[in-house]
């Protein structure tokens, strides 16, 4: 048994790539070793800005010897067959064994492959790993052809067992393996040799390098909290930033400073975003004031003056950055207080899409549509329109120009400054949402109206100009927009017929698109076709969405056949009731019965060339089972139709459930294809009642099982 230590030492690896690179190194090397016949007990990968390291414990010293037996031709076979066999096995005739087989004597080859020592296997696997490493972006440097994330400087590859440590010899593009590495770039730059993983980590620590990224994260977080505590503040948690900063330093030293009083009036999100994006600072909040008042920067060195110069420099850069931010904020406030007219006018000259006109034109459309939608979501139409008109004004603000991620949030602040109603301010913030699958859905009625109008405008617009998503290409994020509509509608229980909305909106959209030459004369019927196609797009998205919620696509499919399928809330309510019903015993059995009825009917109808929808008459019922089914269907009819009309799908399903026993009994006791043609027809007409009744709930033929 031996331990293996690998270190790939390079120029600074981007922080965001390190976690993935650690995993890739571990997977590629251990898989390679195992494929080559070695075994190991454990492996751990590490990274710092300048190195990727892998420690493997309990590695076998040799790959296991293998014995392969191969059956060859019969001893009586022609020479050519034997020669071929010898060639393929690499043996000579006298090395073959002759064994008895069912058909006589045959040659057998016993190929023994001795185990190989670990070192050459490691060398091959490591070279292959380096040459094929899946960096998101890689580069060449100098005159070489090797690709790595940044120039690779040294390869440490050391195999340690009881006898001692030995370098595994390999050379990749002129970089020969060795047993040395270097410490911190400034604090301990000299190269030194190591003898094992423990020796490596200990010497690195002395050379101011903390190898384990989790340890660096913990050190940073602990240090930041201590500094903040001493200043009477709390650090604002930011896991992504913590991971990033841990990838930028080998020797983390947190330092804390205070934000100049002059900037404390900025919105906290602006302070946080500016500090995080530009400086990679953590924010510290004063619990007494609730404001962000401090920052924590993490240096990668042990400065001789305890960080005074570094802190002063960082403070200065922050001041310059926040001066910019304050300049943007103050200018923006001036425009906002004047009603944001300047931004709205400027949006006229910003193209949304060259076939759909300017952002201004888009906003006008969204405002008109928000008005339409408002009453359906319980919002005031005037306020919804007003909100839509200003919701995108912040796109032209200086702050959003600098920090696009603050879009919406700045809109909220500026709408408040403009003295607009709070619902308008919230809509400015939330009408973009939900942005992704994990983003929450707005619930304020005005926000919902504007968010729906925004997304439906985008979808109908791109459908009108034939820019639909194809395959993996969805440059305008239309799938996300459709999913957004679905989540807004379902999340708020909105009752809206989408086709009606599409139709109304397109009548506003087309003239505007024509005005910018985006569309020519629309061919007859294209609009209706587009609307149906867009609805089908929604239905596809809905299937994906509900599948994740545990509702099978075939259940949606069965419900799509029902009227008003452009009312997604109704559609899902129906699907949920049906899904719940099909999970019960009654449900699955009824489905079987209904399918059986439909099959028998379909065959009979095909044979006879008629549809058996003449109405069955109870006077031709012969058996109790038959009469019981008549009664059960009458009872179910009386309940199901009103329940469906009242959208009480649960009541309809429970009425359906009551049919299960009579249907089962009918099929057990009654022969549908009776000798008497009268009885047969009456029974087929009775089956038709089952089919019709089911069809009033969903299209059962689409259901699986």
């Amino acid at each position: 048994m031996a331990d293996l230590l690998i270190e790939l030492f390079s120029e600074e690896i981007p922080a965001r790539m390190q976690a993935r690179a650690r995993e890739d190194l571990k997977t590629l090397v251990t898989n390679g070793l195992v494929e080559a016949g070695l075994t190991y007990a454990g492996a751990g990968a590490h990274s710092t800005p300048r190195r990727l390291a892998l420690a493997i414990e309990g590695l076998s010293a040799h790959s296991a010897a293998t014995v392969e037996e191969r059956k060859g031709p019969a001893t009586t076979a022609p020479d050519a067959a034997l020669e071929g066999f010898l060639r393929s096995t690499g043996l000579s005739k006298d090395q073959l064994e002759i064994r008895d087989d069912k058909k006589g004597q045959v040659y057998f080859a016993v190929i023994k492959k001795p185990g190989r020592p670990a070192a050459p296997i490691i060398a091959e696997v490591l070279e292959h790993t380096i040459r094929n490493f899946p960096w998101p972006k890689s580069m060449r440097w100098g005159s070489g052809n090797l690709r790595w994330v940044r120039p690779l400087h040294s390869i440490l590859c050391l195999l340690t067992d009881e006898a001692g440590a030995e370098v595994v010899p390999l050379s990749v593009d002129g970089i020969a393996s060795g047993n040395t590495t270097a410490g911190h770039r400034f604090l301990a730059p000299a190269r030194f040799s190591v003898t094992s993983f423990d020796d490596y980590t200990a010497k690195l620590k002395r050379a101011f390098v903390m190898l384990d990224s989790a340890e660096r994260e913990a050190t940073i977080w602990q240090g930041a909290q201590n500094l903040a505590f001493a200043a009477g503040m709390d650090v604002v948690e930011d896991r992504a930033l913590l991971a990033e900063v841990a990838g930028l330093v080998e020797h983390p030293v947190p330092l804390m400073g205070r934000i100049d009083e002059a900037f404390l009036g900025l919105p906290p999100e602006v302070l946080q975003t500016s500090m995080r994006e530009h400086q990679k600072f953590f924010s510290a909040r004063n619990p007494k004031t609730g404001r962000i008042e401090g920052f924590i920067t993490v240096a990668n060195t042990q400065p001789s003056d305890h960080g005074a110069v570094i802190l002063k420099g960082n403070q200065k850069v922050l001041t310059a950055r926040l001066s910019d931010a304050r300049f943007f904020w103050e200018n923006d406030l001036r425009v906002a207080k004047a009603g944001m007219g300047e931004w709205l006018d400027a949006l006229d000259s910003v193209t949304f899409h060259n076939k759909l006109g300017s952002q201004k034109a888009r906003i006008d459309r969204i405002a008109a549509l928000a008005r339409e939608i408002a009453p359906m979501v319980g919002a005031d139409a005037d306020i919804a329109e007003q909100a839509a008109k200003v919701a995108k004004a912040d796109l032209r603000s200086a702050m959003v120009g600098e920090f696009p991620e603050l879009q919406g949030l700045m809109g909220m602040y500026y709408a408040r400054e403009a003295g607009l109603p709070e619902a308008v301010a919230l809509a400015a913030r939330d009408h973009w949402r939900p942005k992704g699958e994990s983003d929450s859905v707005p619930t304020d009625p005005v926000s919902v109206a504007v968010a729906l109008a925004d997304k439906i405008d985008t979808l109908t617009g791109f459908w009108a100009i034939d820019e639909k998503p194809t395959g993996s290409k969805d440059p305008f994020a239309l799938r996300r927009a459709a999913l957004g509509v679905i989540r807004l509608v379902l999340g708020n229980g909105v009752r809206v017929g989408l086709l009606n909305i599409f139709g109304k909106h397109i009548s506003i959209l087309i003239p505007m698109a024509k005005a910018v030459g985006g569309v020519e004369n629309i061919p007859e019927g294209k609009t209706a076709k587009d609307d149906a196609d867009l609805l089908a797009f929604f239905h596809d998205r809905l299937k994906v969405f509900l599948k994740d919620q545990g509702i099978r696509p075939d259940i949606i499919e069965a419900c799509l056949a029902m009227p008003n399928n452009d009312d997604l809330t109704l559609l899902v309510k129906r699907a949920e009731a049906l899904a719940a019903f099909l999970k019960t015993d009654d449900g699955t059995n009824l489905l079987q019965g209904a399918k059986r009825a439909a099959n028998i009917l379909a065959q009979a109808e095909a044979k006879d060339g008629v549809e058996y929808s003449f109405g069955a008459d109870i006077k031709f019922a012969e058996t109790d089972s038959e009469r019981a089914l008549f009664a059960a269907l009458d009872a179910a009819d009386a309940k199901i139709a009103p329940a469906m009309a009242g959208e009480d799908f649960a009541a309809a399903m429970s009425a359906m459930a009551a049919l299960r026993a009579p249907i089962d009994a009918f099929f057990t006791d009654v022969q549908v294809n009776a000798d008497s043609e009268i009885l047969r027809r009456n029974r087929l007409n009775l089956l038709h009642r089952i089919r019709a009744l089911c069809a009033g709930v969903a299209d059962f033929s689409k259901l699986e099982g």
């Binding site: 922080a15 972006k137 890689s138 580069m139 060449r140 100098g142 005159s143 120039p151 110069v309 420099g313």
Partner: protein, 312 residues
């Protein structure tokens, strides 16, 4: 390395120390290119010389113009005309990072007191059809340089790879000298008989050019000049390579490239004048890139730009 123990006292001393440092390291100290460019990268000593296999090492100051950054001399950090210090070495030496850190020491940045970091920043110039991987270098949280390993220029793979350093001189100097407003920065020695600040030299021109860039420049004329430069570039490249006067093959890669530089600057001016819409922007950038690529193609056929013969 020759670390000067004294801190520099003025802007020009920082430039002079960089010049002398890189001269010591064996770079040819070139002078600025005599045309309006947006960045030191546009100098043919970088763009064109990063192509082909011939070894190359040069360093120079390049006055750079970014018309949209004009602030009438009032902003403490923003200028429409500023200086970049540019170093280009082909092939990139293995100790390029150490050489760079030595240059910081030479201008008084002591690594035992400061926090110097290499933070991922991939460089791309859509107008030059060029990209590379590298970092922005931070000193105490401030970006002081761009460090790039060129991978492609003018659409050509860089083989070997050049290492490129770009220092934003004003920002770096302000930091080293502890100055808060660029216009207050001493340009020559503060105890010189006639001490001059950056503002003494550039405040007025910043004002004049800001007005020119935002309001004064004649956009119709700029548009015409853009078209002219584009056409002239193409015309020069279309010239037959064989020169009847000398009997030599002379491809006019550099004169054509001058027209590319011109087109690029004219585009920047048009952009500052606000007459280029968002959609048109991409089209203009694409037109300049097309010129840059053609010039790179042409340069690769010249003596300076072709690959060395491989001796079998």
């Amino acid at each position: 390395m020759a670390v000067l123990s004294t801190a520099p006292r003025c802007f020009q001393e920082i430039i002079l120390r960089l010049q002398s440092y890189w001269a010591d390291k064996g770079c040819a100290i070139l002078q600025p290119y005599d045309m309006e460019v947006g960045a030191g990268t546009f100098h043919p000593a970088t763009t064109l010389r990063s192509l082909g296999t011939k070894a190359w090492a040069a360093a120079y100051v390049q006055p750079s113009r970014r018309p949209t950054d004009g602030r009438y001399g009032e902003n403490p950090n923003r200028l429409q005309h500023y200086y970049q210090y540019q170093v280009i070495i082909k092939p990139s030496p293995p100790d390029m990072q150490e050489l760079y850190l030595g240059s910081l020491a030479a201008i008084g940045i002591d690594a035992s007191l400061h926090d110097v970091r290499f933070v991922e920043d991939d460089w791309e110039s859509p107008t030059l059809g060029a990209w590379g991987l590298g970092w922005e270098v931070w000193c105490d949280g401030m970006e002081v340089s761009q460090f790039t390993y060129f991978q492609q220029v003018g659409g050509h793979d860089c083989r070997p790879v050049s290492g490129e350093l770009t220092y934003g001189l004003e920002r770096l100097a302000m930091y080293v000298l502890g100055v808060d407003h660029v216009m207050d920065m001493p340009f020559n020695a503060p105890d010189a008989p006639i001490p001059l600040t950056y503002g003494d030299i550039f405040r007025q021109t910043e004002e004049e050019y800001s007005r020119h860039n935002f309001d004064g420049a004649d956009t119709a004329q700029l548009l015409r000049h853009f078209e002219d430069a584009e056409a002239e570039c193409q015309r020069l490249l279309d010239f037959p390579p064989l020169d009847p006067k000398t009997g030599k093959t002379i491809i006019m890669a550099h004169p054509a490239y001058d027209q590319t530089i011109k087109a690029s600057h004219l585009f920047n001016l048009l952009d500052a004048r606000g007459v280029i819409s968002v959609t048109e922007r991409q089209a203009y950038i694409g037109r300049v890139r097309a010129l840059a690529k053609k010039c790179a193609d042409a340069f690769r056929l010249t003596e300076a730009g072709k690959d060395a013969e491989v001796i079998a």
